[in-house]
Symmetry: C2
């Protein structure tokens, strides 16, 4: 939709349009040999129409239909016997029984969610006003878990490759990701189990493409599937700098009918997101980028967004080093040196 | 010039034109914020004109003028006291004294040469018919040398970064590169000297951009500068897969006014060129690509050329591994599995 998108800024031929509009999706199909998505909030029916007309679409609209609806996704996981937290369908209305799985409870919207949108955690019955007033499901909140993700690629012939499981470290004071740590600091055997589970999951959805499979590790070491993203994913950005084949190169190869290539990780890596600084809004100002670019192992990525507001995702930074400890030290320092903010201070009164 | 160039095939906005035509270069300048080259056989006067009109051009036309003319390049090296083989200006005509530096002798054309074009080795006075009938220079042939190259990047503020020296291994039966080996198998101290010499060389030309500095290591360990390419270079292709910052990313950062980033090599690598197979010509046929893509550490790059003839450069393959020995073993095997050829056999009669 954005005539100033990162791809356009880098000189790509582009079609400006609305990802929910069937005519715009048809126009895109007319301009290309193959279609994919990088956001699941898209008109899947329109993708099915262009596929019926002969266009190659990966992941297939059939797979997307089962994944972009979070309730359907959860039902398929359960039906396939794949481990996932207990859940109940939920209308989202005030009279729904939000307490039937106990408290706290996680509510997820069936449609339109991505990147943490469409998800709320209700701590107790008093928080019922914070519910999403839309259909979806509730699931039991999992306390004291380690969150990991496994990126999986599956090519057109059905061959699967996985990348090392990665670990998400969250700010204890909020739900913000502080670091993505690659590889996850978990036992080798558990990492292998996670990769196997991720492959089984993608097979259950008959997916071709690149997928992010988010999982919980329970305190007893059990793996639960949290959610699946049918696309290249924040959890896989580090693969650009740390792996032989990145998630994006894998995506390109899958779409063009080639094998995926080698997903081996070459160096330990940590990734952090660049969020808009608190207290400012307006035209994007980037401070400290030069210092980061001059620091060994540091890879800043800016998404080229023209305006910035507090906590807006403006980019990310990957740090590679000879050890995770070293990467994290460099990242700790890098974090303090870069700031992305809007041009104007937000006055507390306004 | 090619409406089917690799960049166009990947969806880049492009201007179709002749790199020697000033009007076409102006048209390119109108369409972009900054201009660079990836081939030195270009109209430098036209680049100087767009620079005079306010366009940013890197390397600057002044630098390009001194590097694209091989005779001028050699004279500047000598004037700066940088080590290079003894040479004499040479008209290229039959009455020129090709023997004044002894035999064999290397003749280089001043203008229009690149990638080994515009260079001949004359073994003895009997080979005089093989001379290039154009102005340039002759230089003493260096026997028993090791050929290395150092990629250098210099940003707009003058900050230099180098990549590890790489080593060229040639087929003893011809002048064809069998492997580019990164890093070069030379002592650390010599590698440091080579990097320092490469930086001094680029400073002598006041270059900003990415440069390939080719050198000889004489049997006694002395370094001689062979030639400088004012652009991303075959010797630096391996940096895409093996280094934190590739030569291409460095080029982009320099052009956009940023620091270069970390040029550290993450894994040993070898690279070989993919040449059109003997005995065939016509529409390009690629055999064995899938096997290569399914082999760990192997990165094939095809340039998308629609027609193929014997020895035409059709692409390259980079192999990364935990050791050079391992990378070379994988590469030895990969070489036997991929073949790029024209569609039709060339009959010996035709």
């Amino acid at each position: 939709p954005d005539p100033d998108s990162p791809a356009v800024q880098m000189g790509a031929v582009s079609v400006i349009g609305d990802r929910h509009n069937a005519a715009d999706i048809e126009q895109l199909a007319d301009a290309t040999d193959v279609v994919t998505i990088d956001l699941e909030d898209v008109n899947v029916d329109a993708l099915a129409q262009i596929e019926a007309a002969g266009m190659t679409v990966f992941p297939t609209p059939a797979t997307l239909r089962n994944l972009t609806n979070k309730l359907k996704q959860k039902q398929i996981l359960a039906a396939a016997g794949l481990p996932t937290a207990a859940f109940r369908e939920c209308s989202g209305q005030a009279d729904a029984d939000f307490g039937q799985l106990g408290w706290p409870v996680v509510q997820k919207a069936a449609e339109g969610g991505y990147d943490g949108r469409g998800v709320v955690i209700l701590r107790s019955p008093e928080n019922i006003d914070q519910r999403l007033p839309v259909a979806g499901y509730i699931e039991a909140f999992q306390p004291n878990v380690t969150e990991i993700a496994v990126m999986v690629a599956r090519d057109q012939r059905g061959q699967c490759e996985t990348w090392s499981p990665v670990e998400m470290e969250f700010d204890p004071n909020g739900n913000l990701l502080t670091y993505l740590i690659a590889p996850a600091r978990i036992p080798i055997k558990l990492a292998e189990q996670a990769r196997e589970l991720a492959v089984k999951t993608i097979l259950a959805f008959n997916g071709a493409g690149v997928f992010g499979v988010e999982m919980f590790i329970l305190p007893d070491g059990q793996l639960l599937i949290n959610e699946i993203a049918p696309r290249t994913h924040n959890s896989g950005h580090y693969t650009i700098d740390a792996c032989v084949t990145s998630q994006f190169l894998a995506q390109y190869r899958i779409l063009s009918g080639q094998p995926i290539g080698d997903t081996t990780q070459q160096q330990p890596a940590v990734m952090f997101n660049l969020l808009g600084a608190e207290g400012y809004a307006g035209k994007t100002i980037v401070e400290g980028l030069d210092i980061l670019l001059a620091t060994p192992g540091v890879h800043p990525y800016l998404y080229g967004k023209q305006t910035c507001f507090p906590l807006r995702k403006m980019g990310h930074v990957t740090v590679v080093a000879d050890s995770l400890e070293q990467a994290m030290e460099i990242a700790d320092s890098a974090k303090t040196r870069i700031r992305i903010r809007g041009e104007k201070p937000i006055s507390e009164e306004s």
